[in-house]
Structures are given as C-alpha cells and as structure tokens.
Amino acid sequence: MFEGGRDVVDQIVARLRRPVRIDPSLDARVMERIAALATPRRASSLAAAWRWLTEPRHVALSPLGGLAVAAGLVALALLFPTLARRPSPTIRDLQFVLVAPQATTVSLIGDFNDWDAARTPMRLARGSGAEWTAVVPLSPGRYRYAFLVNGSLWLADPAAPAALDNDYGDGSSVVTVAGS
C-alpha cells in the first residue's frame, strides 16, 4: 500500500496536502448570515450614542445591588435637606444688642424663632458687664422681635422702630433685612 523506502507519515502528509474543494455555495450562506446580522458595522458615533440613550433595556439587579442602590437613594434624601438649609449668599447675619445691667438672662424672641425663648438665648458680652448680644442669620424680609429679660420681662428694642402689628399685645420692635 505504501511506497517502500519512504517514511509512511511523509506519504500520508503528501495525500493530506492535496486540495480539498468546499462547495462554493458556502460563500452565499456565509454572506446571508452576515446580512442578517442586525448591527451595522459603521454606524456613526452620534447614531450609536442616540441608540444607546433611546433603546429600552432590561436592567438586572441582584439583591445586593438593589440594597446598594437603595442606600444611595437614602443618602441623597438625607443630604438634600442639609444642602437646602445651607445659607444662601442673600442671608445676612444680624447682631441684636440689649444693654440690661440688672438682667441675669436675656432671650431674643421673634418671628424668626416662633417667639420661643429657649431657641435664641443672648450672651453677655465679655468685659461689658451689661451688653447682651445674639447673632441671627436672616434672609431678606420684615421681622418682629423683642427681648425676654430674666424669663418674664418682655421688652421691645429701645434702639429700633416699634412694630404696630403685635399679635401678643406687648411691645415689640421691627427689623427689615434688605435683599442683595
């Protein structure tokens, strides 16, 4: 079967190297499959970006991934009010001053703190002995206010215009904060 004097493997290699003819119709089958491919090969980057933005898609999320997304949303919800409370450039710090040599405590009360004596206690200025101060950030507007001395004595600010529309029946003052 094999030629003598010649390596049998070399003889079969020679046979295996003969051309093998593949049915030329394979070309058409290949090109049909290529034509059926949905994705064009040379879409412009703009068209590709538009398609990426507009095509609906399903998003698979693992339970762990879902928790991470939920935690992110909660963090945003907590962060947003904090950001909203940050003073804007139009808010101004106003210093209120009352000279009261006999006072032991003084509180600033007004529209800006719901007339709550506990929210804005005034401090005795160091070295003055009688000057009580408080600094309140206020946005532009008109505010009524007064001082509460020793927890019971209601005093309007003697250095400010009196408010005529005092709901509480006692004397109060008015301050207007201008816009920027």
């Binding site: 051309p19 593949i22 089958r29 290949v30 090109m31 491919l37 040379r42």
Partner: protein
C-alpha cells in the same frame, strides 16, 4: 503560513469591509474557503461538520473584524478562529458519539485515484487520523499539512512551542504505529 494573496490584498479588502462594503468580505470568503476548508475537513473527518465550523469561523471573523490588528495577516488571524471552531465542533460531535464518518466527498476536486488501492489508501489515511487524539491531530495537521512554523502555531492555539513540538512528535509516532499495523494486516 503558506497562504499567498493574489489580486487585491487582504488588507485592502479588510479596509473596504470596515468602511461598510460588506460585499468585499465575499472576496475574502472565496479566497480562504478551500484553504481553510482542508484543515476543517481533515480535523473533523466529516464534511458537514467541517462546513459548519467554516461558516461559523467566517461569520465570527466578520463580526470581530475590528479586532484584526494586522489586516495583512487576515488569513492567519482567521485560521485562529477556525482552529477554535473546530475544537468546539469536534467536542460536540464527540458528545454525539460520532467517532469517524467516512467522507468520500472530502476528495472532491482532487485527482481521481488511479486504482482501487489508492482509494483504500485514502481511507486508511482518514481512519489513521481519526484515531489520533484531537489535540495531537490538530498539532500534526497545522505542522505538516498546513506547513506552519511552531511560533505561528503557538499564536493560533494559545499553546507553548514545547508543548506543540511534543504533540507533533507523539502524533507522528502514533501514526507510524497505526500505519505499520495496517500494512501488516
């Protein structure tokens, strides 16, 4: 790798395809159909499987053309895809239980055998190849039939040169043993 180009270069055809001229790919398919087909037929021992692997390789080549870094060597690059497709197809065929199918049509277009003995010889060759382990058959065909250098084979198969040399050596030894047995019968 023993693949020569005539007419328009591979690089030019690849450039045209990348520019949107899908028809240029048909020229590449026609150019490499028989050359790659020979490897697939011998590797899989079955024309139907070989054509399936070949088709898949061409389609995958088209879809991955952007990753063909050296269009001048499109043929070598496509060879790598075909080698992988043959591995997949061969493994699937083995799972189906197909060990070897005599494929007379594999010799279509080849010179007609001069005698009954020549036909028997072709049959012996195919059966001997089929008895090799797929990894040995792959290395043997790439080295001796497709005439590739070991460095090229390493690029195509992802194997080291030493491992490939060992596989080729074992394949050759096993073939000699098988063919001597046939001669004694």
């Amino acid at each position: 790798m023993g693949i020569d180009n005539v007419g328009t270069s591979d690089a030019e055809l690849v450039r045209r395809v990348r520019s949107g001229d899908t028809g240029a790919y048909a020229a590449l398919v026609a150019r490499y159909r028989d050359r790659l087909g020979r490897y697939a037929v011998h590797m899989l021992g079955n024309r139907e499987d070989a054509e399936e692997a070949l088709q898949d390789a061409f389609v995958r080549g088209y879809r991955s053309l952007a990753r063909c870094d050296d269009p001048e060597r499109f043929g070598a690059w496509l060879y790598g895809i075909l080698v992988n497709r043959c591995r997949t197809t061969g493994a699937r065929a083995a799972r189906r239980g197909r060990l070897f199918v005599r494929d007379e049509a594999a010799l279509n277009g080849a010179p007609l055998p001069s005698s009954v003995e020549q036909t028997e010889l072709d049959d012996v060759v195919r059966r001997a190849l089929a008895r090799l382990a797929p990894e040995y058959r792959e290395a043997f065909l790439l080295k001796y039939v497709e005439d590739l250098e070991y460095e090229e084979m390493a690029r195509l198969t992802g194997l080291g040169v030493s491992a490939l040399k060992m596989r080729v050596k074992r394949a050759r030894e096993q073939l000699q043993t098988i063919l001597r047995e046939v001669e004694r019968v």
